[in-house]
């Protein structure tokens, strides 16, 4: 065993089994782990409300990455020297940690650059199977004319464009489940669309624009009835709620490290073991093979089969640390805090004149984000006004153009919270949003 060089995370808050939310005092304490929150923007204290796009990283995560680079740098899964062995063990321990965080086994978790790459990995694996690669054991993935791929109208472009492209390459048809006016999926429409021709359903767990949680169980049940695969985009759920992918019973799932306190450049793909072992590879080359002849090669089983080339080792180690940090704080308590922040935000801005919030109303299940339209003021201008007060929000289509089109708009402003967001920050945003229309002469 290599000596563990990564520092154990400080347990940032007390764990009290009976409390299912963080308190303001807990949040004040854990903010000390995120020094960036002390900075100013345009002369005002930073109010970071763009964690939906990317989260800030605690010191423990930065330290873990640095510690690996300082003490353990070596190539993993190649070479036989001591350090190569140690680095490989650390790398694999990181995999087991992240897999455990989402309720699956280590050999079912493939490292990717981000969620987008994970989704492309599945789509290209299916594509390759459809070309006959992988032989009989991959036959279950073959799709073509007459088959259907089902997505929803709320998907992030990363969970839409790869399926459009897969449909173009294979001749399969893309079907889309529409949205109700409050943003929820039209489940009756889903029941009609999902049928004998359906081969795969790709859906987001939590919408990055609407903040709602999709009924994954219902969709999985529909998929099971017709033998279709379910791909879950867990980008916006993994950072914000306790996640058990095995219990959700999905076939594949993807997440991005940078949205859950981890570094950029690292993400993960979960695949049910028997599926991963049957899926042909996407990227090919070094480290994913058993024997290579000049004219053909044999591949390793999953997860190595999907990890061609030199891997992002320090990033994987840092992501593992991020999940340890999140677990130490407690995912249920984080979810509780963010729900309350989301409700506070929703209540505050919905009460302002001339503001329309997308998604479900107060009291319904939502994460800590709100996307809204300010009557008479373009989202870009809203964002600029908030930025002037140090409030960082996202403006635009948030990589969900079809969703915005569905609601007759091109852009919204989105404020998104995380475990380090305070009630005061939410209140500052609400107050600033309340001043927007007067500034732009829209009242």
């Amino acid at each position: 065993m290599p000596t563990p060089t990564t520092v154990m995370p400080p347990v940032p808050v007390r764990t009290d089994a009976t409390v299912t939310t963080l308190t303001s005092a807990d949040v004040e304490r854990l903010r000390a782990d995120f020094p960036i929150l002390e900075r100013t923007v345009n002369g005002s204290p930073l109010v970071y409300l763009d964690s939906g796009a990317t989260s800030q990283k605690p010191l423990a995560v930065l330290d873990a990455e640095r510690a690996f680079a300082l003490h353990e740098t070596a190539a993993v899964h190649r070479g036989a020297h001591t350090m190569a062995g140690e680095a490989t063990e650390t790398f694999e321990a990181a995999r087991a940690q992240v897999a455990g965080f989402v309720g699956v086994d280590a050999d079912e978790l493939v490292w990717t650059s981000n969620a987008t790459e994970g989704l492309n990995l599945i789509a290209y694996g299916i594509s390759n199977a459809s070309l006959g690669r992988g032989g009989d054991s991959s036959a279950r993935f073959r799709i073509g004319a007459g088959d259907e791929i089902v997505v929803t109208e709320m998907e992030h472009h990363s969970n839409l464009v790869p399926w459009q492209e897969l449909a173009f390459r294979t001749g399969a048809t893309l079907r889309v489940i529409g949205l109700q006016d409050d943003g929820h999926l039209k489940l009756d429409e889903a029941a009609e669309i999902i049928g004998a021709r359906t081969r795969l359903i790709a859906v987001t767990h939590v919408s990055n624009v609407l903040g709602l949680v999709n009924p994954v169980e219902d969709l999985v049940a529909m998929a099971r009835r017709v033998g279709a695969l379910v791909v879950l985009d867990a980008c916006q759920s993994a950072p914000h709620m306790a996640l058990d992918l095995r219990a959700l019973d999905v076939d594949f799932a993807v997440l991005s490290g940078h949205k859950m306190l981890g570094p950029t450049g690292i993400g993960a793909l979960y695949g049910r073991r028997e599926l991963l072992d049957a899926l042909p590879p996407f990227l090919t080359g070094g480290s994913m093979i058993t024997t290579v002849q000049l004219d053909h090669s044999e591949f390793l089983p999953a997860p190595a089969r999907f990890e061609a080339g030199t891997q992002r080792v320090s990033q994987a180690v840092a992501l593992a640390e991020a999940t340890r940090y999140l677990s130490a704080v407690g995912m249920d308590r984080i979810a509780g805090w963010e729900f309350a922040l989301g409700q506070r935000l929703l209540e505050g801005i919905a009460a302002l004149p001339g503001i329309r919030v997308l998604g479900p109303g107060l009291g319904e299940e939502r994460v800590g984000l709100a996307s809204f339209v300010v009557e008479g003021v373009h989202a870009h201008d809203v964002g600029q006004f908030l930025d002037d007060r140090g409030i960082e929000v996202r403006v635009g289509h948030h990589c969900a153009q079809p969703l915005h089109r569905r609601f007759g708009i091109t852009a919204t402003t989105r404020a998104s919270a995380y475990l380090y967001t305070t009630e005061d920050e939410v209140d500052a945003a609400i107050a600033a949003i309340g001043d927007v229309r007067a500034f732009f002469g829209a009242v």
Binding site: N42, G43, V377, H378, A379, H380, D381, Q384, F385, D388, V395, G396, H397, Q401, H404, T410, A411, D435, A438, F439, F440, G441
Partner: protein
């Protein structure tokens, strides 16, 4: 006052007025060429038509689009500016405006040349907004190139 001096500098009253009044808004028939420009990061778009007097004069532009107050005001200002203007003068103004946008706040802009467009000089301090201001100007540039193609090699060679 609810915005800082910097913000007031970005959103001068002239800009907010243009964003509301939208001079030249509404596509008109009889254009020599048109261009559709999109800002993929925010989804803002503009369709701009160029109406020629003779081959060497831009009589006017007409436009439509969805955008923030900066891109909308910029199109409105451009419409005022390009009013029976010889083409070399149009090109001069596009170049001057581009230079102003890339100046990071170091120049104020030539008011005689750019008229109300100098009010957009504050945009150059905000890297994320320069594209918004440039959108209609880039559309005009493209439309003029397209007009050259439509006019044929002969007219192009004559210039």
């Amino acid at each position: 006052m609810t915005g800082s001096a910097a913000l007031q500098g970005l959103y001068q009253q002239v800009i907010l007025d243009h964003a509301k009044e939208k001079h030249g808004f509404g596509l008109r028939d009889g254009a020599a060429a048109s261009s559709h420009q999109l800002n993929p990061t925010c989804g803002d778009e503009v369709t701009l038509r160029v109406h020629l007097g003779d081959a060497d004069t831009v009589a006017s532009i007409s436009w439509e689009g969805q955008g923030c107050s900066i891109s909308t005001a910029s199109a409105s200002i451009l419409s005022d500016l390009v009013d029976d203007l010889p083409r070399p003068d149009v090109r001069l103004r596009i170049e001057a405006f581009r230079e102003l946008m890339q100046s990071k706040g170091t120049i104020d802009g030539d008011e005689e040349l750019l008229e109300d467009a100098v009010a957009l000089s504050g945009v150059s301090r905000y890297v994320t907004r320069i594209k918004c201001a440039m959108l209609p100007w880039v559309a005009l540039e493209h439309a003029l190139l397209e007009a050259d193609g439509a006019l044929g090699a002969e007219a192009g060679a004559a210039r």
